[in-house]
Amino acid sequence: MSLWRDIRGTILPFWVTLRYLFRRPVTVCYPERKQTPAPRYRGRLVLTRDPDGEERCVACHLCSAACPVDCISMQAAEREDGRRHAAWFRINFSRCIFCGLCTEACPTLALQMTSEYELASRELLQVIYEKDELLIDGCGKNDGYNFYRLAGIGVAAPRGSNPGETPPVDFRSNLP
């Protein structure tokens, strides 16, 4: 029986190769032709804006804490209206392993992955992206979400006027 198995094992690979000779190739002539990756492809990171057009990122440091290769750094600051934002935000794509943990950690859906994968460069500094290069003008994948309208601390709307909130209490009154 082992002889039969050996013959089969010798012929079958040749048959497979022969079969593929008559099929269309799966490779494309990159870079002349480019493939469109799947929508959930883990490519370059972007910072998105909320439906009101404000920066979504509140510089909470969760992405940098989740990052296994420490490629994200930032500094938080406070805007005059009390909004927390990133004074600067830097992603070092020469370190990034595109694991997507940062986007999973992001509580405001600011950090999202795109299908852009053409990041290679001979110049190291060109793959270190600052906030102005990361920030895009749209909402990305979740166009309805606005963190400040759900977190009730009165930044996007006056205190007590977000959906599901009662007006601020009058603590000087003891009436029921």
Binding site: C60, H61, S64, L125, G152, I153, N174
Partner: protein
Amino acid sequence: MPTLIIDNQTVTVPEGTNVLEAAKRLGIEIPHFCHHEALGSVGACRLCAVEFREGPVKGIQMSCMVPAKDGMVVDTGSAEVLAYRAQVIEWLMTNHPHDCPVCDEGGECQLQDMTVAGGHGIRRYTGPKRTYQNQNLGPFIAHEMNRCIQCYRCVRTYQDYCGGTDFGVLGSRQRLYFGRFSDGPLESPFAGNLIDVCPTGVLTDKTYRFKSRIWDLQEAPSICPHCSLGCAVTPGARYRQLQRRRARTNNRTNGHFICDRGRFGYGYANHPDRPRYPLLGHRRVTWQEALAALQNKLQELGELFGPGSIGLLTSSRATLETQFLTKRWAAALGSDQLCFEAHPGRDLGARVAASQRLDRTASLEDVRNCDLAVLIGADPLSEAPMLALALRQAARRGARIVVVDPRPVELPLAYERHAVSVEKLGQLLRGLSRPQQSEFPSSMEELGGSLASALLAAKSPLLIGGTDLLGPQGTEAMQQAAEACSQPETPCRTMFLLAGPNSFGGALLSAEGPCFSSLLEGMEQGRIKALLCFEADPLADYPDRKRSRAALARLDMLAVFDCAATATLQEADLFFPTTAVEESTGTLINNEGRMQAFEQVFSAGTPLAESAGGSHPPRFFSRDIPGSEPQSAWGILGALMGRSADLLTLRSEIEKNDHRFAGLSQLEARGEGRRIAAPRQYSLSHQPNISGIMGSDQLQLLVTETLYGSELLSNLSSCLHESTPSAFVMLHPQDAARFKLEEGKKVLLGTPVGDLTLTLRIAGDMVPGMAIVPRLRGTVLEPLVPGTEPLPCRIEKA
């Protein structure tokens, strides 16, 4: 001593311990919010529920409210208990704003931890959330009431523990509000502790707002350098910037809390004017050039004028290691012109204080447990704020607190006040040192007699003195008084407030060495040609600035080693940058002789926020870190002496060299510190000198410390500037009427340093015939230094 079983482990605890703390002894952490070791239990949060299976109580109970009893069998993790706690957490979260990403407590939030531990993820309750308006609570604390879980820790800390009256709980039912009646800065100098005790993000550090997350901070156990008490703190730094200080627990000293001067005085390490490079003249040079210039000059002077022409000065800010190596170096150079404090009065005062018997020296723990404390010439809130908090804890247990002082001393507790002039303080102490003979000065017999009998009758009496006001003689008199008022079973302890965090170390090392006055004489006569100042500022600290300026100007070389831009630095020929406390390791000895080691928190360097101009970090790579040149003073000294810069070797050498520092090399920064092995030997040879009687229209001018603005390092912290008072003078109403002056108006104060225009404050509970001014750096009052005899002055309308 009840014995009980918790989670199948047997533990025996002292009577009165609650089950939560008994479990903690076994290493079992029962989740809780409202219980706090220093504040006790109230049973408000309902989270610490455990199941009692056997014993006097049965079923699910709050472990913080049940005292441990014999025969109890406790299960902290049964299915029923876990379900109960998960439900409690879910209730607590129904009104929470879910804003963790923008909350500064994130990462160090107990509510976050408990929510995750309780398994609560999705808010099932669909009703509306309650909201509040926030208040502006001043420059230190940010308020976000929506995050509150009503654990009452803040009120218990602020009102009960710290004695503040302007923050409390308002409202009713589920509208409880923790805040002030109206917006305004919190008045208590211990308000910063609210940041530490709040288990969520209602009260957070405004000076640290949005700067970092705890997991990004570099932290290490450290010691607060802003007064002589040596409170345990945990500073946090990021991107080469010291960003905050938190209280650390040391039950022998500060307990769980610290004062606002310590908490918000950290800014000196990041001060934009901090000199970070060696300077020769006013030109920036390399370390090699500067060290070579120093050694050449010293060699030249040594050959020309002998080793006695080199004077060395350290200060109470310098670590024990620096002080010891300075002494070593002076010996190596052959110079005996070595001094450990630029202020002669404070120097001698510390030497006397350090000669107190160690079993008669009180720690802050002893203060918290005393039943009678007599403060003579001590103003805790200004000179050592945490002492006021310790006294309050004693008073809460029923202790009697008596303040005898010429100043209007304020304490956050119920106390007796006796306004007594400076001269009479000394006489009172000398009377107390012979209690049987009752030799009190006239008009003080009643007070003196009652104090003497109270001190003799008390179980744990305590005498607390400020060396600034008492002076060396008064300090010695207080030691004698404590000795005389001691009974074999009830020794009368003493605590002296010293000038700086390591005054005690300098006093131990100074032996019979000269004080700075004799160094100044040497400079004036031209005997001393060079002065080396190790973290010392003789120009600002010597009481007579005119004299010290003239003497320093005569020097051939003034070399300054410091971490702050001091007045002396402006005159220096050679400057070497040293590290701040947080940037190096070392040992400080606090006012009770406790050696406390501290660790390095971060490496010195210009903060990124400053070097990058507020924008992103520079887009180039270099090995050089801007502003990273400061080195520890003891490291520089080691390099100058050509020895290895190893801290452990140095500490073992100090220990071997001087038996009083036994145990120094085993000292751990996380521990409680260690008392020195023996006090120094010292006795004053001077006779008490009491200043003469002033003319009737002359006032005595007394310079005192204040909470903010007097201490060098904390005054460099910009977050304290808003709370620092502007220059003022205080008068008794009688004197104000005599000179026809009105409160709040500008007055002209004629002092030995010139005529100063100040705002008048009137204080009814001070001694008449006296004008009190605070030491305020950076104002017209800067040349006036506390710790001297009262000066003559006159006052008139401006």
